[in-house]
Each structure stands twice: as structure tokens, then as C-alpha cells.
Symmetry: C2
């Protein structure tokens, strides 16, 4: 089979695990392959693991890696989506910092590659294949360890002039507020990320006010994952639920404000916290955003949860490379 | 001369005054004509005044109104930019509410017309001809009696899915904050519009702490215009200056947050307050936005003041109709 066979690889490069998927020309996922991002030797061989992971997915799909028409990658930022060079990304092994991932993949597999940040790819995945499929202007918001955001504007992924638009987690709610990981004060992330929730949960644990959570995690903050929080709420921890609803309300206020400025037709919520507690988040976001948004801007907005789960970034990355390949093939006047 | 003569009219429909301009095919302004929006009889003849104002501008430019190729209008919203129907706009005479302005102008002048909101047209004017000419992604922010905003995305006016994107004044800073004119709480406008500044200035006047402003306006809040505030600051009212800088700082926080989400290359500041105190606003906005925006998103953003003054809306409206006419003429594959 030649390159016209149109198999694509989508790749989700995460801080702890990586996943490759192989798709056919109907954008159906034929196979998936997963690996831990960090090997035993810890550093130095991460690119080899990435390439092996892609080859494993090809094998699983009965596709010769030579028949890949293109590879799309979603990676934690900062990175340069034009050159495909990873930046000083704290969440990845050190051998990937300042690493020319696009160029290395193109050399390794002999086909075009594109690299963009994982939140953009998650938003694009949900737009192309998932919960935001009917949208044209889409705001993706992903509360987890941080709070990421992505934008689809008039049917296209929008990166802004810097290439890094969508930093919803760094909308400032109060310039005198708590310090954020970015060094500024009062960012949404400082109020409503999983870390902020962990801090509030710990206070409840120390006071003995979250007994169900205590059964899950003892007093170990490292164990307070989104899923443990969800189970503790189901187990009856009312004050914990209240605390999480309060942080969700912060997210909603920002979403409502952004509805006023950007006027999307669809808001898609994803990320670890939302996946663990979808009903709570959709409830709070719908109520809170309605309160913050102007009526005539809010009335036709759909607020939905991500549908693709672990596949979102991988499938968004496959959509990215598919679009890039299509743009290369079409004559200029169709661009 | 036939319709290929390519004269255009731009029209700025304001709450107190209206202005028509006639432009040639090089988008040079040949003439301007102004009228008060409300006539002696107050209501019922506003459309006639609009048409007369356009004809006056044509006469002044030696252009037969029959030779107009198109008319663009900027009007206070809400309005529907697709149908060109004015909504329940409180700032216009009542006979223009629910008024099909686009259709009536097309019938009256026998040429296509487009109607969009004044802040969008101001942003478009500065993008096409003024301070944001070099930009591709532009955020326009216009603090005045309200705080309006406009967006240019990838070189195109962006209206969002509702047609009414850009409501920067209704970004919520604190859901428990002061009540805004829109009915919500804690909107930027509630902290930083001219009305909010007037309220703070009045407190200073009542305390005898703004002597220069007292000379300008006595105790009459209706006289506290942007220009009076600017003169009072020049006259030495330090506490007044501090109050205005504090409100400007709120505007900056929102601009910084929006830089994080939208990543524009240019922020253009206009409106009554900025025109009266350009140095103060640019200073505060640059400092404040730098504080709120992430470094890698802020570093290449240009923050500039509007250049076109009273011409911005009229010229933006002319650009709107020029673009609409060009889109109609070009074959589909160039769209």
C-alpha cells in the first residue's frame, strides 16, 4: 500500500502515560496502544518509547508504519505548534524539553507530523467527533490538576496570535486573590483546580468533617484524586460536596463571562474533575454561567460534557493532521 | 455614473447625534454630514433624518445618491446584523425600535446596506484604517457610559454564534459585587464605566476632596463628563485621579484575562474616557494587563489608543459594506 492508503496516527503524550491510535480514512479508530511515559531508565529514551508506541498501534491494526500518511500529537504545553518543538514543559521527562518532536517523527516515519497542545487537541477531538460536533464556535474547559481551555472559532481551531490562546485557567478573578502556580494572583486555577480542591478537602479531613473521604485516603493528600472525591460525595460527605460546588461555581462565573465575550454555541466540559463528577459540574456550570452571562448571549448555548474520554486528545490530534494533509492537497483557492 | 462608480456611505447612528460620510473607491472620506438624532418633534421622523443626513453628505461630496454602491451603518445594539433590524434599543428614539433599518435604507437608496453595532464598527474602523491596522487578532475595548468591546479574529470581524460577541463590559469580576445596569452583579461595567466613576467623584465632591472638579461641575452629576474629569485631574485633584486609576485597573485586569484566553496581537482602547485621558488609560492598562496576563501571551501584544476619533464608527461601517460588496462579487471559491 502506498501513502494514498490514508492511515493516520493520533498520539496523546501525557505526563504519566502515552497513547497512540491508528485511524483509517473514515476516521475510525482501528487500534490503540498505551505505554507509561517514563521508562525504567527514567530519562533519555522517551522518543524511542513514543515511536515504539506508534509502531505497536500499527501492528495491532495490521498497518505497516510505512503506510502512515501522517501523525498528529497532543502534548502538554508550552510548545510551538508551527515548528512542533516542545518547550520547557515541566510535566514531561527532561529529555523532551526543547525537543523537535515534529521533525523527529517526520524523519522516523517518513510522513508529515503536527504537534499541538493537549487541551487544544481535546477540544478539537470533541468538536470533530464528540460532544461538540454540532458546534461552530466552541469553548472547551477542562478542570483538572490545572484548568485548560481550547477554542474553536468559525469551525477552526483558534490558537491566537501567540499560538497559545485558551488559557481559561488564568482568567484573573481577583488581583489580590490567592497565589497561582503561574506566579500571578487570583487566577481561576488558584480557586478551582484539583489542587485547590485538595487543599479544601484537607481542611475538612483535619477537622474530621469528611469521614467518607477519610476512609478513601486517610490524611494523604497525594491520594485525593478526582475519583476519590466523587466516591466520598456519593458516600455522604456533604461539606466536601459543598466545597466542590463552590469551586465549580468559580469555573462557571468565568465560563459565563467568556460567553459574554466570545458568544460560543457550545461549551464542552472535560478533564479529570468533570469526568469523575459530570452531573455536579454540568449542574453548577449551567446555573452559574446563566447567572454570569447576558440572557440573549446565553439562551442558545449548549453546555455538554466531553464524550470521548481518554480518546479525545488522540482523536483531536488525528483530526489535526488530517486537516493539515487536506490543506496541502487542495488548491490554494479552496483554502 | 453607474453603480460601478463605487462610492460608499458610512453612517454612525448615535443616541444624541448622527454622522454620514461618503467615501470613494480608495476609501478616502470625501465628505461628512452631521445631525442631531432627535428632531424638534422628538419622535416619528428619525428615519427621514437619517436619509437626509446621507443625502447631505452626498451633496457635500458632489455625489448623486443614486451612485452610492452601498451603505454601512453602526448603531447602538441590540440589533440583528443579519436582518439589519434594530432591537429594543433604549438609546435610540422609540420610532427606531424594532425598525428594519437595512431594508428601509436599501429601498430608499436602491443599493445594498449593512447594519452592525457601533462598538463592532469602531473596532473594525480602527482595524481597517486606524490604530490596529497591523493587527490580525484585535480586541477593542471602549470604556465610556458603558464598556463595549469588539473582536477581530484572523482578520475578520467576529460576532460569535449569537451575533453579539464582545460584551467585555459584562465580564463578571465578583458574582457578589455591585449591581450592574444589566441586572447582574459585579460586571466590569459596574466598577469601571463612566457612571461608576461619576459615583466615586460625587463622594469626593461631597467631602470637598475634589476642588478642581467642583469648579467644573459644582455638585451636578449630569455635568461630570469625561472631559470635565480630565480637566480636574490636570487641575490637581489627586484623589480623583487615584479613583479613576483604580477603575482603569479593573479594565486592565479584564483585558489581561482576555489576553490569556484570546491571545490578540493588538488591544485598541477607545471611547469617551480614553479619549479624554489617553495617557492615564494606556499607562494603567499596560501595567495592569501585564500583571494579569501570562508573560508568553503578553509579550508581543501592542496596546494602543484609537486613532480615528469621531470617524471610527462611520469608517468601520463603510469597511463593513465594502467587504460585503466584495464578497458578493467574488466567485464562491475565494470566500
Amino acid at each position: 500500500m502506498g501513502k494514498d492508503s490514508r492511515f493516520l496516527a493520533g498520539f496523546d503524550l501525557g505526563g504519566t502515560k502515552m497513547m497512540a491510535g491508528v485511524l483509517n480514512d473514515k476516521m475510525e479508530v482501528l487500534s490503540r496502544s498505551k505505554k507509561k511515559t517514563r521508562g525504567k531508565s527514567e530519562e533519555g529514551d522517551t522518543f524511542k518509547r513514543i515511536a515504539d508506541c506508534i509502531r505497536d498501534a500499527c501492528k495491532e491494526a495490521n498497518v505497516d508504519p510505512k503506510d502512515l500518511a501522517g501523525i498528529g500529537v497532543g502534548s502538554p504545553g508550552p510548545l510551538d505548534p508551527v515548528t512542533g518543538v516542545i518547550g520547557e514543559t515541566v510535566n514531561l521527562p527532561t529529555d523532551l524539553r526543547e525537543f523537535p518532536l515534529k521533525a523527529r517523527l517526520e524523519k522516523e516515519f517518513g510522513c508529515p507530523a503536527e504537534v499541538d497542545n493537549d487541551v487544544n487537541m481535546g477540544t478539537l477531538g470533541e468538536f470533530a467527533f464528540g460532544a461538540a460536533k454540532k458546534g461552530r464556535n466552541v469553548l472547551g474547559v477542562f478542570p483538572g490538576t490545572g484548568i485548560g481551555g481550547g477554542l474553536i472559532i468559525e469551525g477552526q481551531l483558534f490558537r491566537g496570535s501567540s499560538g497559545a490562546a485558551g488559557e481559561v485557567g488564568h482568567v484573573v478573578m481577583d488581583p489580590a486573590g490567592p497565589r497561582c502556580g503561574c506566579g500571578k494572583r487570583g487566577c481561576l486555577e488558584a480557586y478551582a483546580s484539583r489542587l485547590a480542591i485538595v487543599a479544601r478537602a484537607l481542611v475538612l479531613l483535619l477537622r474530621g468533617e469528611a469521614p467518607a473521604l477519610a476512609k478513601e485516603v486517610g490524611l494523604n493528600p497525594g491520594d485525593i484524586k478526582s475519583s476519590a472525591l466523587a466516591r466520598a460525595i456519593e458516600g455522604g460527605d456533604k461539606l466536601l460536596e459543598e466545597a466542590i460546588r463552590e469551586t465549580a461555581f468559580r469555573v462557571d462565573t468565568v465560563i459565563g463571562s467568556l460567553i459574554n465575550v466570545i458568544s460560543p454555541d457550545t461549551v464542552v466540559l472535560g478533564g479529570g474533575l468533570v469526568e469523575a463528577m459530570p452531573a455536579l459540574y454540568v449542574e453548577e456550570v449551567t446555573a452559574g454561567a446563566k447567572k454570569a452571562a447576558l440572557g440573549f448571549l446565553f439562551k442558545d448555548v449548549r453546555i455538554v460534557t466531553a464524550k470521548l474520554g481518554d480518546d479525545a486528545v488522540m482523536m483531536g490530534a488525528a483530526s489535526l493532521i488530517a486537516t493539515a494533509l487536506a490543506a496541502k492537497e487542495k488548491p490554494k483557492d479552496k483554502s
